[in-house]
């Protein structure tokens, strides 16, 4: 967290999100967001490729009431 510049994040939020967030709060939310971003990037890089997100709905139906082998 110490590496995150709250002033810079606050300014970015004002410029790109049109929102006023104090530097202290900006630093707090950046700490959480950057960790979640990092986890997501790692997960994505762990896949050979990524398909259209719409595939999710098809997968959900294909796995409907999935049963174990007995």
């Amino acid at each position: 967290m110490s590496d995150i510049d709250g002033d810079a994040i606050s300014a970015w939020l004002k410029q790109h999100q049109d929102l006023d967030v104090t530097p202290e709060r900006a630093k707090e939310i950046a700490t959480i967001a950057f960790r979640l971003n990092s986890v997501t990037l790692d997960a994505a890089m762990g896949q050979d490729s990524l398909d259209d997100p719409a595939r999710y709905f098809r997968t959900l139906v294909e796995l409907a009431d999935f049963k174990r082998e007995t």
Binding site: I9, L36, A43, Y56, V61
Partner: protein, 477 residues
């Protein structure tokens, strides 16, 4: 089913939804008497637990009268006919403002949420709208605009949230069932804290048309009831494809009630072990162990199972939830920040710092991670057993932090057990399993594969047939 000898308010309130509906069908009791009893209980408990935002007394009595007339004429609609229900204030009904726990909206709805129409078609009586955390954004039941919901087992304790009003209402027997909404645990956690059943169905199993969104990709509407049987009856009424909601697939809806059975012979239950599932207080661990014994006694085979990637799935749920909530709340955060509390704003602010690339990666990962999860877990077991809460339900004083992030951290202790199924879209059910040392309810969760709600309800129903936690009532009045 046995009937109350005297139609006292107390006896009628103590009936399950299934018993009340059956009694109305047989005309042993009128829908009007059942509704009057529910309304009387609602008015008695409201000053203590603040679970209602609005009680539609006259409309409910008129609906009950209509139900009695229809049934007398031989037009019984089904097991919900004449049964009073109340719902989280996120569902459109013509002429009413669905507040979502906020003060930003003042335009009455001009149409009806599909789930409301389906309950109306089933003949259920609508009692009113239930309290929730502002924008369904919290986990404690606090709401600075309308006042917090209190836990009916001890009003000094939190109800949980965001569907805290729904959980407290059903637990206090002011309605026979209620709908809540769950994007990360908002049905299951308050259900666990208030001692009722709470179902987060498969994503797309229940229509969200006409429902105020918390997110786009992970919101699920689900029933909260005292028994698994009641939950099956409510789910039956609302499950299935809806042309108004393109995320609802046109899949057959099973007969959830017919699937219920009293033993678990041949059922293999996977007990989730390892992190984060082993991070529970001893009080909770003892109750979970008791529940394992009860399931074994019913004939289930219990095996330990490691669930891969739960914490990562939880984080991916946060990427979707926070990004989408930031979009949904974005207009209000910019144009009317003074009409939103810091609590509501703070939990979505991180979404402002998540790039589109991360958001889309989270969405694109959903299919392969769902497939891997289902094959790894449900290739080995029929249902997955996991905690619903990490510790005893805290008091209001214990959650009265100045720092909202501390509240979020407290909520996250239990949300670690719930969020991953919102990311995956799989169903999960919170089932009361006794009381911690402070006298508050605790619960376990049952998870299943997509559209596997029937097996969760079956296990819960058998468990409730062998235990009596669900039959105990808070002494509010």
């Amino acid at each position: 089913m046995s009937l109350p000898l005297k139609e006292t308010s107390l006896a009628l309130n103590d009936l399950s939804l299934a018993q009340a509906g059956d009694s109305i069908r047989r005309r042993d009791v009128t829908a009007l008497a059942v509704t009057e009893a529910a309304l009387a209980r609602a008015e008695a408990v409201q000053p203590k637990i603040n679970c209602f935002l609005r009680i539609d007394k006259e409309a409910a009595l008129e609906a009950a009268d209509r139900a009695d007339a229809e049934i007398a004429a031989g037009n019984w609609r089904g097991p919900l006919h004449g049964v009073p229900l109340a719902h989280k204030d996120v569902f459109d009904r013509e002429g009413h403002v669905a507040t979502a726990g906020a003060i930003l909206f003042d335009t009455p709805a001009t149409s009806r949420a599909t789930v409301m129409s389906r309950f109306d078609d089933a003949g259920a009586t609508y009692m009113g709208a239930l309290n929730l955390d502002e924008f369904a954004a919290g986990g404690t039941g606090a709401n600075d605009h309308y006042g917090r919901t209190h836990n009916p087992w001890n009003t000094d304790h939190i109800s949980g949230g965001s569907s805290g009003g729904s959980a407290a209402c059903v637990a206090s027997r002011a309605a026979f069932g209620a709908l809540g909404g769950d994007a990360g645990g908002s049905v299951r956690i308050p259900a666990a804290m208030c001692g009722v059943i709470g179902l987060k169905p498969t994503f797309g199993r229940v229509s969200r048309a006409g429902t105020a969104p918390r997110t786009f990709s992970i919101d699920c509407t689900g029933p909260m009831t005292r028994t698994a049987e009641d939950c099956a009856l409510m789910l039956q009424a609302i499950a299935g494809h809806d042309p108004r909601d393109p995320t609802t697939p046109d899949l057959p809806v099973p007969d959830y009630h017919a699937a219920l059975r009293s033993d678990l012979k041949g059922v293999r239950v996977g007990v989730a072990v390892g992190s984060p599932f082993d991070q529970v207080d001893p009080d909770i661990a003892r109750l979970l162990s008791d529940a394992h014994d009860a399931l074994r006694d019913l004939g289930a085979e219990l095996v330990d199972i490691t669930v891969p990637d739960v914490m990562r799935l939880n984080d991916l749920q946060q990427i979707l939830g926070k990004s989408e909530a930031a979009v949904i709340c974005g207009r209000w955060m910019r144009e009317r920040p003074g009409d939103m509390t810091f609590d509501a704003i703070s939990v979505v602010q991180e979404g402002l710092l998540m790039p589109a690339t991360r958001y889309l990666e989270s969405k694109a990962l959903r299919a392969p991670l769902l497939e891997a999860h289902v094959r790894a877990v449900f290739g080995a077991v029929d249902v997955l057993f996991a905690p619903a809460l990490a510790g005893a339900t805290p008091s209001i004083a214990e959650t009265d932090f100045d720092d909202q992030d501390q509240v979020e951290e407290l909520f996250t202790r239990s949300a670690r057990f719930t969020r991953f199924t919102n990311y995956l879209g799989t169903p999960s059910l919170s089932v009361p399993c006794g009381f911690t040392g402070n006298g508050l309810p605790a619960a376990f969760q049952l998870h299943g594969p997509p559209f596997g709600e029937a097996r969760l309800l079956t296990v819960a129903h058998a468990y409730q047939g062998a235990t009596d936690h669900h039959a105990q009532a808070p002494q509010l009045i």
